[in-house]
């Protein structure tokens, strides 16, 4: 039987990790992920979770230890944010190319300098190309649910890719939300024990992580690409199974009032809640506004987005990161790429919001919708606008 509890989202995450019966946790504390790992430490200390918690001396070692543990056949978990993600970045790319199904919760936080402990997406965007499957969740419930989903997807023998569950630092990690916890007993066979396809085991020696050559590296990358794209089918399968068992149906792209929308706001992550409230309000005022929440970022749901967004006149893509000297917000540039070469693309406006935890209000989203409607009239593409910038 499920329990509905008001709890800090970090703890909802740790609960799920505990119920997954992970074997090895290797993590280094960094704000705002600390509550996740502290809670897991307590669970191990109390004997509620039978796992080895490696108290590594840096995030780089955290991910390296996860690689070793996963290669030996363990179900592995780690968590980090911002500077930690950047420090372990070298190994993050290696983990996916070695096909190690590690699950990592990233408490998205802005990158220095200046130092900031507050939430935005610059850390994960800097690692877009790493080859991990990336989920973006926006509520305590979806955080809890996606830990199970992440393990089921990552460890599937047709996938075997490490998976990131991205949750906004502070704005999600430290808030208290009502969560219907799934008990271990109710998981049933949704999450079978990890059965490694490749494993470090003296009974069957293999060499993992050999040096590649120009003669085969291209083929290795092609193989990686193919498995990344193919994982989408399994992700959909897992979401469907989850929905059948637990009644919550997730999709790669979640829509809200998009059927007849002329203006669609596109967001990802925790601020989607505020966006939804804004769209609700604008609909009551008779405005034809809709909201799209992107839940799956890698592999990128280009086809879904084209299908859902094409009917609108203008889409307002809200990014929580900037790519300096580039085409603006990373999410927006990916969406623009998804439309390039296809006829019937809507006008795409780009807004940068909520950098380093800057509050984003319902009124901000209303302003975004208005601005988008102004921009589409001028037809010329416009550079991105930063919401709330003091000039």
């Amino acid at each position: 039987m499920t329990r509905r509890v008001g709890m800090e989202v970090s703890f909802a995450l740790s609960e799920a990790v505990k119920n997954c019966n992970v074997d090895v946790i290797s993590a280094y504390p960094i704000t705002p992920q600390t509550h996740i790992v502290e809670e897991l430490s307590q669970m191990v200390a109390d004997g509620d979770l039978d796992a080895e918690f490696i108290m590594v001396e840096s995030e780089h070692s955290a991910m390296a230890a996860c690689c070793g543990a996963s290669a030996a056949g363990a179900r592995t978990f780690t968590s980090t944010a911002s500077q930690g993600l950047q420090l372990m970045s070298e190994i993050v790319f290696i983990a996916s190319n070695m096909r190690l199904p590690i699950v990592m919760a990233v408490a998205n936080r802005s990158l220095s300098a200046p130092l900031s402990i507050w939430g935005d997406h610059s850390d994960v965007m800097a690692n877009r190309d790493s080859g991990w499957i990336m989920f973006f969740v926006e509520s305590g419930q979806s955080v809890h649910d996606h830990v199970y989903i992440a393990y089921r997807v990552a460890e599937d023998s047709r996938v075997l890719l490490p998976t990131m569950v991205n949750l906004d630092g502070f704005q999600l990690t430290h808030v208290i939300e009502p969560v219907e916890l799934i008990e271990k007993a109710d998981l049933g066979d949704f999450l079978p024990p990890y059965d490694p396809q490749i494993q470090l085991n003296p009974l069957k020696p293999v060499t993992m992580g050999p040096a590649g050559t120009p003669a085969m590296f291209t083929e290795a990358k092609k193989a990686q690409e193919v498995v990344t794209w193919n994982s989408r089918a399994i992700i959909d399968e897992v979401w469907e199974d989850f929905g059948k068992r637990f009644g919550r149906h997730y999709k790669a792209v979640e829509t809200f009032h998009t059927d007849d929308a002329e203006t669609i706001i596109v967001s990802m992550g925790g601020l989607s809640g505020t966006a939804r409230a804004a769209v609700d309000k604008m609909r009551k005022e008779g405005k034809k506004v809709g909201l799209v929440r992107i839940r799956l970022f890698r592999p990128f749901p280009a086809e879904d987005l084209r299908r859902i967004l094409s009917p609108a006149k203008v889409i307002a893509v809200c990014d929580r990161a900037i790519s300096y000297g580039g085409p603006g917000g990373p999410l927006c540039s990916e969406i623009k790429s998804a439309f390039f070469g296809y006829s019937g693309a809507p006008y795409i406006a780009n807004f940068i919001i909520g950098l380093a935890g800057r509050n984003v209000w319902v009124t901000d989203f209303e302003h975004i919708a208005d601005r988008a409607q102004q921009l589409v009239l001028q037809e010329e593409p416009a550079p991105y606008e930063i919401i709330g910038l003091r000039e």
Partner: protein, 97 residues
């Protein structure tokens, strides 16, 4: 079965792992040698030092006489065996072919 060094992408193992333990044994490092060790079986004391010190496991033992000799498939011609042999039974000679 030796894995191909020019595989099609579909032929690669998961994570590019190498599944044949010790598969470098197919590689003829003997082609590198410009000198090879020649052992005088009369002087060989059968001590096995040349076998201990060979970085390339290129020393084999004649089962009948017990004397040690070179495995030309792997010998790179470094000359450690010749130098270490306590009875000076090994001399390095230039490869002529």
């Amino acid at each position: 079965m030796a894995q191909s060094d020019k595989p099609r992408w579909q032929e690669l193992e998961i994570g590019c792992i190498v599944t044949d333990p010790g598969s470098t044994r197919y590689y003829k490092t003997g082609d590198w040698a410009s000198m090879v060790p020649v052992t005088d079986p009369e002087r060989c004391a059968r001590c096995g030092l040349c076998w201990v010190f060979c970085p390339d496991m290129a020393r084999i033992r004649d089962q009948r006489t017990g004397a040690f000799d070179v495995n030309e498939f792997y010998c790179k011609g470094c000359g450690i065996c010749a130098r270490e042999c306590p009875t000076n039974a090994i001399t390095m000679q230039e490869v002529t072919d």
